[in-house]
Symmetry: D2
C-alpha cells in the first residue's frame, strides 16, 4: 500500500485522485490545491483529507506525490518533492522553459528519487500493442511514423494564452509518441503552423493547425498533424510503417454498432475527448507508477523523456516561427 498525495485539484488532478481512490494498492492521503474549496471538494469525493504542501512534504509516511497543478508550478514542485525524498509523478509538460525543466530534473537526479512524466498515451492498450508489434519484429525496421492528433474543439482563449502554445501544450504528446515509436532520437524538426480554426487564437499569439516532421540520424521519419478542432470527435491515430509491415491504431467509438439505410452505412463518431479515450491509459499509468514505487521494475516515461519532448516542442515552435528547420 503506497501512501500518496495529489497536488492540484483541477480536471487532471481529479482523474488521478479518483484512480488512486479506487486503486487497491494506494492510500490517497491528501489533496493539495491553491483553492481550498477545490481541494475540499475533491477530498470529499475521494474520502480523504485536504493537506498543505508543507504538511504533505513534511509527512514522512507519504511515499509519493502526483503533481497535477498548473504548469508554471511543476518545476518548483518537482524540486520540493525531490528534496523531501518523495517519488514523483508529474503531468506534462515539465515546464514551458527548457532550462527550468532541466534544473528540476537535476534536483530529482541528485536526490535520486523516481520521477515519472504523465505521457498517458504510452499506456494506451492500442498504442502499446503497436509498440509491441515493433518490438516483436513484425514491422521490421521502423521507417516512417505518422501521428494524427486532433482535439474536438479549441480551449478557451485564456487557456491558449498561458498554454505555452500548441507545440508545447498539445503536440508535445505526439513528440513523445514519435520518439517512443521511432526507436531513435530525432535530430531535426520542421514545423508549419496555421490559424484556420479561430482568429482569436492568432490574437493570443498561437496557431491552431500544425504539421511537423522529425528526422533521426539514420533517416527515419515522423509526420505529425494537429488541429485544435475536429468535427467527428477526438481524433487519435498512429501508424508505423516498417521494412516488413505496418501497424496502426485507429479511433475508438462508443459502441460496435453499424447501421445502414438508403443514405448508406453509418457508425458512431470517435470518442469525445481524452477523458473518454484515455480512461484506461490514465488508470494503467498510475497503477504502473505505484508498482514501480513499490519496487517493481517497469519502464515508465522518465523526467528525461519529459525533457526531450519539451526540447523538441521548443524547437518546433522556433521552426514554425522562423520558417526554417531546427536541429535538436
Amino acid at each position: 500500500m503506497i501512501d500518496i498525495a495529489v497536488i492540484g485539484a483541477g480536471r487532471i488532478g481529479r482523474i488521478h485522485a479518483t484512480n488512486l481512490h479506487l486503486h487497491s494498492g494506494a492510500n490517497l492521503r491528501y489533496i493539495v490545491d491553491v483553492s481550498e474549496t477545490a481541494a475540499a471538494e475533491l477530498a470529499a469525493h475521494c474520502d480523504t483529507q485536504v493537506g498543505s504542501l508543507e504538511s504533505v512534504l513534511g509527512d514522512a509516511t507519504i511515499q509519493a506525490v502526483v503533481i497535477a497543478s498548473s504548469t508554471n508550478t511543476h518545476a518548483e514542485l518537482i524540486e520540493a518533492a525531490a528534496n523531501a525524498g518523495k517519488a514523483i509523478f508529474c503531468e506534462k509538460p515539465l515546464d514551458l522553459d527548457v532550462a527550468t525543466a532541466q534544473k528540476s530534473l537535476l534536483v530529482a537526479e541528485q536526490q535520486d528519487v523516481l520521477l515519472c512524466v504523465g505521457f498517458n498515451r504510452r499506456h494506451d492498450p492500442s498504442f502499446e500493442r503497436v509498440k509491441e508489434e515493433i518490438e516483436t519484429g513484425s514491422v521490421g525496421d521502423v521507417e516512417v511514423v505518422s501521428i494524427t492528433s486532433r482535439d474536438p474543439s479549441p480551449p478557451p482563449a485564456d487557456y491558449i494564452a498561458r498554454s505555452g502554445g500548441l507545440y508545447k501544450d498539445m503536440m508535445i504528446h505526439d513528440f513523445d509518441m514519435g520518439r517512443w515509436l521511432l526507436g531513435e532520437e530525432p535530430i531535426e524538426v520542421f514545423a508549419f503552423g496555421s490559424v484556420l480554426v479561430d482568429e482569436k487564437i492568432r490574437t493570443a499569439g498561437d496557431i491552431d493547425t500544425a504539421v511537423a516532421t522529425l528526422r533521426t540520424e539514420s533517416g527515419r521519419l515522423c509526420q505529425i498533424t494537429n488541429s485544435r478542432r475536429c468535427s467527428y470527435g477526438y481524433d487519435q491515430r498512429i501508424e508505423v510503417f516498417g521494412s516488413t509491415g505496418m501497424a496502426r491504431a485507429g479511433n475508438q467509438r462508443e459502441t460496435l454498432v453499424e447501421t445502414a439505410s438508403a443514405a448508406g452505412y453509418a457508425r458512431d463518431r470517435a470518442l469525445p475527448f481524452f477523458l473518454e479515450r484515455y480512461a484506461d491509459a490514465y488508470r494503467i499509468q498510475l497503477d504502473r507508477f505505484l508498482r514501480v514505487v513499490d519496487g517493481e521494475e517497469l519502464e515508465l516515461p522518465s523526467g528525461t523523456d519529459g525533457l526531450r519532448a519539451l526540447q523538441i516542442a521548443d524547437a518546433a515552435q522556433r521552426s514554425s516561427d522562423s520558417g526554417l528547420p531546427v536541429s535538436l
Copy 2:
C-alpha cells in the same frame, strides 16, 4: 445505499459480488454458498461476511438478494426470498422446468416483490444501441432478426449433463434477445441441432451446434445460430433488418490495432469469453437493479421475460427432438 446479499459463490456469483463491492450505492452484506470455503473466499475478496440463507432472509435490513447458485436451486430460492419480502435478481434460467419456474413467479407476484432475471446481454451498450435504433425508428418496421452466438470452447461434459441442454443453457439468451428485438411475441419455433464439435456431448444427450427460427403472428422472423466452439473467440453478433434500415453490432476486440504485411491485413480475435465481452453489461445490469430497488423506474428483464425465454427454449428442444416446428 441498498443492503444486499449474494447467494452462490461460483463464477457468476463472483462477478456479481465484485460489482456490488465496487458499487457506491450497494452495501454487500453477505455471501451465501453451500461450500463454506467458497463463500469465505469470496467474502474476503469483497470485504464482507459469510451468511447462511436463514440469516440473510431473516435479516430485516437486507433489501435485496442476488441468486447466482446452481440452476436447480433458483426456483426454491426465489420463493424463499419472495416470502421474506426481498427484491430478487436471479440468474438465468429460472429453472429447467417450465412449471417449476411458473410456480416461483407466482409466489414472487403474490408477495409483490421485484424479480429481475439476469439477461445480461440486454444491458450491453452495443446491443442496447441496436434496440435504440429500432425505437427511434431508423430501422423502420422490424422484419428479420439474425443472432450469432458461439462460445469459444465447449464446457466440461459433466456441466453439459446438468445444463438442461444447449437450448435452455445457451440459446435461451438468444431467445430473450430475439423477443426483445422482434418487438412481438414469437408464436412458433423450429430448431435443428447437430453434434459437430465433440462426440462426448452426444453421449451426454446434448447437441453442440444448432440453428433455430422464430416466427411472430405478423410474420416477423428471427434466425439464431449457436455453436459450442469458435476458433476466433466469443462470437456475439446481432443484426436487425427492417423496412427502412438495418442495425447490427459486431464483435469486440482487445485493441484497435490493425497490422499489414506480405500476408495481408490482420486484426485481433474477438474477446475470449463472456467475462470480457459482457464486463460492462454485468456492471450496468446490477446498477440498474439497484436503482430500481431504490425506487427508480427502469425497464428490466422480468420474471415473465425469464419464463418466456424458458418456454421458447423448451419448445426448441422439443422441435429439435421431434424434427417438427412447435407452437408457442
Copy 3:
C-alpha cells in the same frame, strides 16, 4: 473461336450477348427472340444478326447456345439444342416444374452435350475465395453456412405471378450456394415465408420475406434469409463457419471512401443490384463456359446442379406452405 447464339433478348440476354460480343474467343453469330424488335435492337448493339431458332439449331457451324429466354421455354429449348448437338448454357431455373426439368436433362445427357446452368454467384471472385478457403482447409470442417440475400426492391406484380415464387425465383440461387459451400447434399429443408413488404405480393400468391434452413446427413447446417426489399442496396453476403475458422464475403460498395462529420462516420450503400454486383461474375461465367466448350477442363454448375437447386426450392415451397420440414 467459338460460334455461339443467344436466345432471349431481355435483360439477362443482353448481359450475355454484350459479354460475348466483347470476348475475344467468341463469335456471337445470332440473337434469337420472340420479339423481332428486341432481337434486332440487341443484334445491332452487338454487331451481329437476328436469327430464328430453326436457323440457329440448323446451322452446323454454331457450337453453342445461351438460353436466356423466359423460364417456361427453358426445358423445351434445352431439348431442342441438345438434339441439335449444341453445347448449352441455360439461365436458372431450368423450369418451374421438377419433372419437366428432369426430362430436359435426360435429353441433354442422352445427346451427350455440355449443359451449364447460370448460377452466376459461383463465379463471383469473393464467393470463390470463400470456397477456396474451405478447400485449402483454413476453415476446417464446414459446420454452418449463413447466406443473406436481399433485393433492393420487389419486382412488378406481374413478374411475381409468373416467377414461380420467391423460393424458385430468388432463393434458388442461395440453395445452390448452400449446396456448393456445405460440401454435402442437404437432406431436409424447412422454410418460413412472410409478406412484410407489399400486400400485392400476397395477392399474387407469393411471399416477400423468407428464412430457410438446410440440414445435411452429417448434421451440417445452412441458414438463408431473403427479402424482396432492402433500403441500403443489394445485400449479398455469405459466411462459412467451420471447426478451425470462418470465412465471409460482405457487400461491395461503389468506392472506397469513408467520410466523417459531427454525425459520425459514413460509407456508401451496397451496389444497387445484380447487374453491378455480379458484373464480373457474369463475364467470368461465360468465359469459363467458352473455355469448356473449347476443350478445357473446368468445373461448372451442371444441369444436375440446376436440378438439385430446383428440387430444394420446390421442397422449400412445400415446407413454407405446409409449415412442416420436407425431406429431400
Copy 4:
C-alpha cells in the same frame, strides 16, 4: 469516332493502346515506337498498324496522339504534335526540366491544341468521390490533406538513374493530388528524403523514402509520405480534413473476403501495383480525353497542371538537397 495514335509501346503505352482498342469511340490507327519490334507486337495486339512519327503527324485524319514514350522525348513530341495540330494526351512528367516543359507548353498554347497530362489518379472513382465531398461542402473548408503513396518494390537501379529522382518520378503524382485537393496553390514546400530501402538507390543518387509538406497562402497544409517499398501491396491513400468533416479513400483489395481463426481476423493485401489499382482510372482518363477531343466540356488535368506539379517536385528536390524549405 476519334482517329488516334499511340507513341510509345512500353508498359504505359500498352495500357493506353489496349484501352483505345476496346473503346467504341476511338479508332486506334497507329502505334509508334523507336523499337520496331515493340511497336509491331503492340499493333498486332490491338489490331492496328505500326507507324512512324512522320507518317502519324503528317496524316491529316489523325486527330489526337497519346505520348507514352520515355520522359526525355515528351517535350519534343508535344511540340511536334502541337505544330501538326493534334490534340495531345501526354504521360507525366512533361519533362525533368522545368524550362523545357514550359517551352513545350508555350508551343501547345500558341498552336491552340488540347494538351492533357496523364495524372491518372484524378480519374480514380474513389479519389474523385473525395473531391466531390469537398465540392459539395460536406468537408467544409479544406485544412489538411494527407497523402500516403508507397510502391510495392523499388524499380531497377538503371530506371532510378534516369527517373529524375523520387520527387519528379513518384511524388509528382502526390503533388498533383495535393494541389487538386487543397483547392489552393501551394506557396512553399519542405521535404526530407532518406535511403532506408536499398543502398543501391543512394549510389544512383536518389532516395527511397521521403516526406514532404506543402503550405498554401491561406495556411492550408498537405503532408505526403512516399516509400519505394511496401510489404502489403501498393499503398495509395488520401485523407482530406476540413472544418466540418473528413473524407478519405483507403486501399483496394482483390476480394471482399474476411477470414477469422485462432490467429485473429485477416483480409487480403492491397492490390499489387498501379496496373491493378488504377485500371479503371486509366480507362476513364482516356475516355474523358476522347470526349473532350470530341467537343464535350470536361475539366482535365492540363499542361499547366503538369507544369505546376513538376515545379513543386523540382522545389521539393532542392528542399531535400539543401535541408531548407523552398518557396514556389
